[in-house]
């Protein structure tokens, strides 16, 4: 049985006097124990909202969540606030995008680590402090005992993200959700944090849901990838297959838009045309059709359904990119 089974997860935001807005639309995916699954897409595609919905962190008023999120057989969406608080931080950890704003500015790092140990493992402040120092050391923060007494503004960006990772993994959760954990960091630190995350989830056997817009992160980390567009999963594949043969024109576009070091000098970048609209309709045709180079008439008339291509590969497209014929055969 999968560790996490998300089925038809739908999130609608309702504001007074405005039509409701569907941010996540019938998203389904599984995470096996110890597996790393990527949720990939541009800003606004619903990947962060998906993660917040799984954690039960969406505002209670204004957000309507439906579907099921089975975690070890329990539907997290049906749990009471108290039951959910018992699971969060203990069985499910989360790392956020901006490490500075995600740490409380007026409380020492030590307390921010120990409070989760005190809450879920019933440790005293003193024992928790000893363990917190070990945790900081494990995530590669030098001089951890001193750092425990310091405040977030006294740490560098990379250190802060390491501290947040230590907090999220303090109780050895079975599932860690990382929402763009490297976006706010500079490139050299990004690589360090990714290596750290990769090592930690492997050591602890923690499953990881990696939310990112960065295909480089996916290539380095994920076993399986879900590509989201307009709140729906448009393509799902094993990492190698996705990179070797992207089938959805959107995935293809994402890959093609990555600048290549081996490209001829002066070659222009290949961006995907247009940008994500605020509320992308899936009711009349494919939401990606207005930006799609492969779009046919049918794409604007009938909403594509999800097809199972076998081998764990799913695709939602009327006119997918044809697999490239290997070079030596065509020659």
């Amino acid at each position: 049985m999968a560790l996490l089974e998300v089925r038809d997860l739908t999130v609608q935001f309702q504001r007074k006097g405005e039509p409701s807005f569907t941010a996540v639309d019938q998203v389904s995916f599984d995470v096996e124990p110890g597996q790393t699954v990527g949720l990939v897409g541009e800003s606004g595609c619903g990947k962060s909202v998906t993660s917040l919905a799984i954690m039960g962190l969406l505002p209670k008023r204004g957000a309507k969540v439906s579907g099921t999120v089975d975690f070890e057989g329990t539907d997290l969406l049906r749990l009471s606030d108290k039951q959910l608080r018992d699971k969060r931080g203990r069985d499910l950890g989360m790392v956020f995008q901006d490490p500075l704003s995600s740490l409380n500015p007026v409380i020492p790092i030590g307390v921010q680590v120990t409070e989760v140990l005190e809450r879920h493992r019933g440790l005293s402040r003193k024992t928790a402090m000893v363990e917190a120092a070990e945790l900081l050391e494990k995530v590669g923060i030098p001089d951890p005992t001193r750092r425990l007494t310091e405040y977030p503004h006294q740490l560098s960006g990379g250190m802060r993200q390491r501290a947040l990772i230590a907090i999220a993994l303090a109780c050895r959760p079975r599932l860690l959700i990382a929402d763009e954990p490297t976006t706010a960091l500079d490139v050299t630190i990004q690589a360090q944090i990714l290596t750290l995350l990769k090592g930690l989830v492997k050591d602890l056997g923690t499953a990881l849901v990696m939310i990112t817009h960065d295909l480089g992160v996916v290539a380095g980390l994920c076993d399986e990838v879900n590509v989201l567009y307009g709140g729906r999963v448009v393509e799902k594949a094993q990492r190698h297959e996705l990179f070797a043969q992207p089938r959805h024109p959107y995935t293809h576009g994402l890959l093609a838009s990555i600048p290549r070091l081996d490209a001829p000098r002066g070659e222009r970048l290949n961006p995907i045309r247009g940008s994500v609209a605020d509320n992308i309709p899936w009711d009349n045709g494919c939401a990606f059709a207005p930006r799609c180079p492969n779009a046919l008439d049918i794409c604007r008339e009938r909403t594509p359904v999800q097809e199972d291509l076998g081998g764990g590969r799913l695709l939602r497209c009327h006119n997918p990119v044809q697999p490239e014929v290997p070079q030596e055969v065509s020659a």
Binding site: D86, G89, S101, N104, P105, P108, E115, R119, Y151, I167
Partner: protein, 334 residues
């Protein structure tokens, strides 16, 4: 931190010196003077001149000022001419200041213990009838003039509630330790005296507390609304902390920064409200003395009380600034 405090206190000395000059000059620029105020219609030019000579007001103003300054340095602020004629101004101050402190502290405690929780709940229930009602109520609280509210409380509510409507009488037979009547009653375990003093405080304190309450409420509500959307509150929720810990350690702790500033400013402003409230309730504190002092052109009393008010204001602001460092570590290390 210590250097900062010392620097601020030295600044305070400068402020007091400049202010003493200004107050001195302004008071003498007021129409009329102690002589005409004391002698009234019956005064003749001769009797007024004689009184002015007796009070030393016939001398050039800068000589008066330096004499005043010289005596002030030895702790002598002169004698009252109108409020309690003949009494030393320092004695009047010592006798009346505890009353004002008691009233102000009681008022600010009322404002804070009602304003902060109400502000928090209103923020949590943003947009509900509870929120709208309390925001509307606080608007009325700010808008109603203190003297009007004081009159209403005194004339309408006092008799209905069976509370005393006037004054701060020294209960007969009560033992005095500190001059703070409620505190004295508690210290000497004379519970009746403490209760009696508390009853006398109640209505004036409510009148005085309305504006600070409304301001504290609104600032708390706004600050909590801001902080609730912060990423670190989401992190705290993601840790699965109990609702109480999220509230106290993460939301309120951060939301208190602007609230503390506000409370400090309100304490400073309380003295202005105290003048009106004490006057209406004939509550014998420094506020009442200030009001009387203006009516009777009592220069020595006004000089001292205005300067004390300024010192209190500056010191409270210094304490607020220092308390920042306690709440916000980002200021401490700078």
């Amino acid at each position: 931190m210590l250097r900062y405090t010392v620097r601020r206190l030295i600044q305070l000395l400068g402020v007091v010196l400049v202010l003493s000059l200004l107050v001195f000059a302004w008071l003498r620029a007021l129409p009329g003077g102690p002589a005409s105020a004391l002698l009234g219609d019956r005064g003749t030019d001769e009797s007024r001149a004689a009184l002015n000579k007796q009070l030393g007001l016939d001398q050039p103003i800068f000589i008066q000022y330096f004499k005043f300054l010289g005596r002030a340095l030895t702790g002598d602020f002169g004698n009252s001419t109108g409020v309690q004629p003949g009494d030393s101004v320092v004695d009047i101050f010592v006798q009346r200041f505890p009353a004002t402190i008691e009233l102000s502290v009681f008022a600010i405690i009322l404002a804070v213990i009602v304003g902060i929780p109400l502000g928090y709940v209103a923020a949590k229930r943003r947009g509900t009838w509870f929120d709208n009602l309390s925001v509307g109520g606080s608007l009325i609280g700010v808008a109603v003039p203190v003297f009007f509210l004081a009159f209403v409380l005194k004339e309408v509510l006092a008799s209905k509630l069976g509370l005393p409507s006037v004054g701060r009488q020294d209960a007969i037979g009560a033992t005095r330790v500190t001059g703070f009547f409620v505190l004295d009653g508690i210290l000497t375990q004379e519970w009746d005296a403490a209760w009696n003093a508390l009853k006398h405080l109640f209505l004036p304190a409510i009148a005085l507390a309305t504006i600070p309450f409304a301001v504290v409420f609104r600032i708390t509500r706004a600050a909590v609304l801001d902080v609730m959307d912060e990423d670190y509150v989401r992190t705290a929720e993601a840790k699965g902390l109990t609702a109480q810990v999220v509230r106290s350690r993460h939301v309120l702790r951060n939301a208190m920064l602007p609230v503390v500033t506000t409370i400090g400013l309100q304490i400073g402003a309380l003295l202005a409200g105290a003048v009106l409230t004490e006057k209406v309730f004939a509550f014998s504190g420094v506020g009442e003395a200030l009001a009387l002092g203006f009516e009777r052109r009592d220069y020595p009393v006004l000089q001292m009380l205005i300067m004390v008010a300024a010192v209190v204001y500056v010191v409270v602001n210094l304490l607020v600034d220092l308390s920042y460092a306690l709440i916000d570590p980002r200021i401490r290390t700078r």
